[in-house]
């Protein structure tokens, strides 16, 4: 056996286990989701009826699905923008300014991320409680009774309440990510800029942001994926999609249809839409934020 051949054999053997696992546990199930979306099937019987794109046509007219889609998009956009702004702001302050107890704040901000989403649901249901909740009590102390709300009962507000919980949960994680890349920027850049008379804000927009841009791009994709997943978990644990479906997100609706309504094929059609949507959105976001990577 020649040297290159044995080398190739070695590479092949090393790669194969991961490749097999990838095919069996990633590609095949994904392919199954796409295949099942073309069938009418309850999930158990052997009568899988091929219906072509019927499931997708039905989806187009299903108002509950459209509402859950709207909710998901709303959550993705709001959670991404607000979390991003807060995380970058806090990260910049904690790395660049000499804040007393900076490490303490870093830990405090990061704690929500360690908590299970069920615990977060518990915490926020206590915060939002209509009569004894933290939020309404604080508003009561400042005599702002007219601002007191049914945070989880009013259909116009409840989605914001969910978004707030998701943002609270996410800030610490992204802040730590931004901090790590900000810490890598050489301090001499800032020294030079301040000698030139650049304000703190100018320094932030002209030095910090461009130099952590690549990191920000990565986190934008994370925002999309994690909001889709976590919003499902939070909805399941906290509101159950209620009141009357007003907090239903597309994954919870998919679950509802695939299991609760015994229409597994239809659920998979929703799965296909979610899959394509998140892929497409991530691709678009990554494309429009593409810049030349700055080296330092």
């Amino acid at each position: 056996m020649s040297k290159t051949r044995s080398r190739n054999l070695f590479i092949g053997l090393c790669v194969a286990p991961a490749l097999i696992l990838l095919i069996v546990f990633m590609f095949m199930p994904t392919f199954e989701v796409f295949r099942m979306s073309l069938y009418r099937w309850g999930g158990f019987s052997n009568t899988q009826q091929f219906v072509g794109l019927d499931n997708f046509k039905l989806l187009w007219n299903d108002m509950t699905f459209i509402r859950s889609f709207q909710n998901s998009i709303f959550l993705i956009v709001v959670v991404a923008i607000v979390t991003f702004s807060f995380a970058v702001f806090f990260a910049a302050i904690l790395t660049k300014e000499n804040v007393k107890g900076g490490n303490f704040f870093r830990i405090i901000f990061y704690i929500p991320n360690i908590l299970s989403i069920v615990v977060i649901a518990g915490i926020f249901s206590a915060v939002y409680d209509p009569s004894s909740g933290l939020l309404n009590s604080i508003l009561g102390i400042f005599s702002l009774e007219n601002l007191q709300q049914m945070w989880l009962g009013d259909q116009k507000i409840v989605i914001y309440s969910l978004a707030a919980a998701l943002i609270w949960q996410a800030i610490g994680y992204y802040m730590v990510m931004y901090m790590s890349s900000m810490a890598g920027i050489p301090p001499s850049f800032y020294e030079a800029a301040s000698l030139e008379g650049a304000s703190k804000i100018k320094q932030f927009t002209s030095i910090t942001l461009p130099l952590v841009w690549n990191n920000i791009r990565t986190t934008l994709t994370f925002f999309i994926i994690s909001t889709i997943n976590l919003s499902f978990l939070l909805v399941k644990a906290m509101t159950g999609g209620g009141p009357d479906g007003s907090t239903e997100v597309f994954l919870s609706y998919m679950y509802d249809q695939a299991y609760g309504n015994s229409t597994f094929g239809y659920g998979m059609a929703i799965g296909v839409i979610v899959f394509l949507f998140s892929f497409l959105l991530a691709a678009i976001v990554s494309r429009i934020t593409k810049r030349d990577v700055l080296e330092y």
Binding site: R5, N8, L9, I11, G12, L13, V15, A16, P17, L19, I20, I23, V24, R40, G42, G43, F44, S45, T47, N55, L58, L59, D62, T64, F65, A121, G122, S125, Y128, D129, P130, S131, M150, W151, L152, G153, D154, Q155, K236, A237, M238, T239, G240, G242, P243, D244, G245, D256, Q257, Y259, G260, N261, S262, T263, G265, Y266
Partner: protein, 449 residues
């Protein structure tokens, strides 16, 4: 290029090896299963939902069944999230022989199998002799329990699910408070509104509900009260225009009127995380009534409560004086999947569920079966709940929606009960609600099994 080809071949060979290894294992397993089958002992796989009654009663019943039937070895599986555990096995073709899993659960595993014709017809079980006894099953069963859509889902007189633990449901209240204030428990909706106004003056709301799903028994009883048993079954079989009929309108309108009397915090807490806060409202004398089942007593066992608190339960009020009042009976079902391996033994096992010994064991843990004379063995508070039908003018109501083929996007439960949150909060009028229900009913009618 050559390199690529080589890599590909190697990985394909490895894939084949892995798959072959998998299938070998399966064959071996099957062989060993065959051996057991042809041998002396049959292994019966029983899967039961672990509920508030605990696991011990099932372990004891299984033990006593094995004594009566020494040829059978029972492999008992109990889980709180039974659906999640058995579903993957069932999809891989490994079915339990007997399942105790009720309908109307969130994952709807039982409904899915009913819709897919995956449940075995067990009509003959009721003519079987109870193992170890002289009597037949249907001689022991309470009347009416095997005539409902909850046991005969295709409305064809054939029984597919056997009734197990039952509990009457109704409106729960603080009997101590009623005594203290000298209030009468209302028998009609008019009396109900009167009481509601009286209570409002004292700062107490008339009504609350844990989640909108609890309306399944309340609305069911109202439909019975509005139009009787035949009307109820027409509604459950999606008869055209039934939800726009006078009777249905009466029931739906009453729910809308109820909205004015519901405790303001109710909708905000009507979710899986906070529903006990709504139940707490009754314990704290902040709301008078809530629809519930007798499990609420155990559920709220540890909760703080008002002084002189005592649980009371009443039927759903009638629409006119001396009208019939109903209290819905909720029960869990036991059934055999069509793909089970040991159906005959499974049927024998179900028949045994109604034996005196099994019933006593279940009763000890607080689980009551619909067996003749069982309510006499109950004591104290339980007895008052189960004897609700002894009250004059109170009738039992039972049933659920008829089974249909799965219809994408059309979920009767979500529409009929889920929308109640919107009706109560004023986001939807009863007219809009009615239209939505009729629309879903229209979609489901052609899909009836």
């Amino acid at each position: 290029m050559k390199k690529m080809k080589f890599l590909l071949t190697v990985s394909i060979i490895l894939v084949i090896f892995t798959l072959a290894a998998c299938s070998n294992g399966e064959e071996k397993e099957e062989k060993s299963a065959d051996k057991e089958g042809s041998g002396e002992k049959t292994t019966l796989k029983v899967a039961a939902l672990e509920s508030a009654y605990g696991t011990e009663m099932w372990e004891n019943v299984v033990k006593s069944y094995e004594e009566v039937n020494p040829n059978v070895e029972v492999d008992l599986q109990m889980e709180k999230n039974l659906e999640e555990v058995v579903r993957p096995n069932m999809q891989a073709g490994d079915y339990p022989d007997v399942l105790l899993l009720a309908t109307n659960r969130e994952e709807a595993l039982t409904e899915t199998l009913i819709k897919e014709d995956g449940v075995e017809n067990i009509t003959d079980v009721f003519d079987m002799q109870v193992p170890g006894e002289e009597t037949k099953v249907n001689e022991k069963l309470l009347e009416g329990f095997t005539d409902t859509l909850a046991t005969n889902p295709y409305a064809d007189g054939e029984t597919y699910l056997a009734p197990m633990f039952y509990s009457p449901t109704g409106l729960f209240y603080n009997a101590g408070l009623f005594e203290e204030k000298g209030w009468e428990v209302p028998k009609t909706w008019d009396e109900m509104w009167e009481l509601g106004d009286k209570a409002k003056e004292e700062g107490i709301s008339l009504f609350t509900y844990p989640t909108s799903n609890y309306f399944d028994t309340l609305l069911g009883s109202m439909l019975y009260a509005a139009g009787g048993a035949d009307f109820y079954s027409s509604a459950m079989t999606y008869e055209d225009g039934i939800w726009e009929s006078e009777e249905a309108t009466k029931a739906l309108e009453t729910v809308e009127k109820l909205a004015g009397y519901v405790h303001p915090n109710t909708v905000a807490n009507a979710n899986p995380n906070d529903f006990t806060k709504n139940q707490q409202l009754v314990l704290d004398n902040k709301a008078l009534f809530m629809p519930n089942g007798n499990w609420v007593v155990d559920e709220m066992k540890e909760a703080p409560r008002a002084e002189n608190f005592a649980w009371g339960m009443t039927s759903i009020p009638a629409f006119e004086d001396d009208g019939d009042r109903y209290a819905f009976t909720f029960f869990e079902q036991i059934w055999i999947p069509k793909d089970a391996k040991n159906k005959d033994v499974a049927k024998d096992f179900i028949a045994y569920m109604y034996s005196d010994e099994a019933a006593d064991t279940f009763l000890e843990a607080g689980a009551v079966q619909p067996i003749e004379g069982i309510t006499e063995q109950l004591d104290g508070q339980k007895q008052t709940f189960y004897s609700i039908y002894d009250e004059e003018g109170v009738l039992p109501a039972m049933g659920t929606f008829a089974s249909t083929k799965p219809v994408p996007g059309a979920n009767m439960g979500d529409t009929l009960y889920g929308s109640i949150d919107s009706v109560i909060s004023g986001d939807m009028t009863f007219k809009e609600w009615q239209e939505k229900i009729e629309e879903v009913s229209d979609k489901l009618r052609p899909a009836l099994n």
